[in-house]
Amino acid sequence: MINKLVASPEAALADVPDGATVMIHGFGNAGMPAVLIDALIAQGARELTIVNNNAGNADTGLAALIGAKRVRKIVCSFPRQADSWHFDRLYRAGEIELELVPQGTLAERIRAAGAGIGAFFTPTAYGTRLAEGKETRRIGDRDYVLEYPIHADYALIKADRADRWGNLTYRKSARNFGPIMAAAAKCTVVQVRETVELGELDPEHIVTPGIFVQRVVRVAAPLRKAA
């Protein structure tokens, strides 16, 4: 019997090694798997490469992981925020590497990894410093930049509901990077608000099919309101 439900966040992340590439779902705090990130901090893996849209907000979640100096490199589109002080401090001190990627290119590089695509040409960033040193090609009447997929060892995702096969539904704009990161990682670990019996999720409404998911942890966190 397939059962991807894992007893605790600690058990779900016990095997993350130093130097792993870890995708962390979320756009700001929407979709950020805070319980899994806390477990990753406690687990102690170091020299991580993190893929996220941002570089953490305030003192919790991804910001706490960065603040704990577990991150060697971050791949993101928008690190600079009013409350990204942990990243800002380490970046200015030269203690964290930044690979800045336009948001759509970030999403498509993640999607490409999960879809088995070797590389793709995008018009985004052509003629800008973010395309410097990259291969370009004129196709038809437009210029394109060659971009490669981003693969990950782990993806940490927050979803709304899951069953034991790992089928997932999301909640509102907390879907964002979840479906594409789930497909791009060798081991996708999901924290969910609720686990349900097989068959309770309407097949028409499943957003991430369980083939992309390896481990599911139920987290009894109440829904919080935005600040």
Binding site: P102, E108, A125, F177, K225
Partner: protein, 216 residues
């Protein structure tokens, strides 16, 4: 001469968005446009983080941390709204499905080059977000910005000195002084604020302007 304030600029841009348009509003000044879209027009706002049909701000106490816009502010949904993942969201942008992207800018060049993501300062932390995708992807790119810097220099320039967001991508510029179309043969002034003559606008702007005034 009466310069437009930020709200008046937003109202001016909003007037030009037609019924049925799919529109992305950049963070900052362009976000204000949402408050001035003409009542009675169905206009669908897109947010990079996977929403079509963005509605107004929620009432105090009604915020939901899972329902935010690209600026990470709490929002509501219009009836008929939809959610989708990030790759689909940027397929909408890059795939030329959005009718308008309305973006802020540091500089726009006479060729329509846009600089809006990085001041290039040595200590500045770069952040690009979805700006480069919107610049190349939307069917029409509208820029909203003050015409002059605080030092009185024109933000419409021969060549951008700040790092580019996109080359030859801007279609129209709305400033606190004028509305200017970017065309293959140069910049066409289609409107100036009350009391501002074309010659004075030309003096303030520095780069060559063409007079195609629809209303003075």
């Amino acid at each position: 001469m009466k310069k437009l304030d930020r709200k008046q600029m937003a109202a001016r841009v909003a007037r030009d968005i037609p019924e049925g348009a799919y529109v992305n509003l950049g963070i900052g000044l362009p976000t204000l446009v949402a408050d001035y879209l003409p009542k009675g027009r169905e206009i669908i706002l897109h947010s990079e983080n996977g929403i079509l049909g963005v509605g107004p701000k929620p009432a105090p106490g009604e915020e939901d941390e899972d329902l935010i816009n690209a600026g990470k502010e709490p929002i509501t949904l219009l009836t008929g709204a939809s959610f989708f993942h990030h790759a689909d969201s940027f397929a909408m942008i890059r795939g030329r499905h959005l009718d308008y992207a309305i973006l802020g800018a540091f500089q726009v060049s006479v060729a329509g080059d846009l600089a809006n993501w990085h001041t290039g300062g040595a200590d500045a932390i770069p952040a690009v977000g979805g700006a480069m995708d919107l610049a190349v992807g939307a069917k029409k790119v509208l820029v909203m910005m003050e015409h002059l810097t605080r030092q009185g220099e024109s933000k419409i320039v021969e060549r951008c000195t700040y790092p580019l967001t996109g080359a030859r991508c801007v279609d129209r510029i709305y400033t606190d002084l004028a509305v200017i179309d970017v065309k293959a043969d140069g910049l066409h002034v289609v409107e100036t604020v009350d009391g501002l003559a074309f010659d004075e606008l030309q003096r303030l702007t520095g780069v060559p302007l063409k007079k195609t005034l629809i209303a003075a």
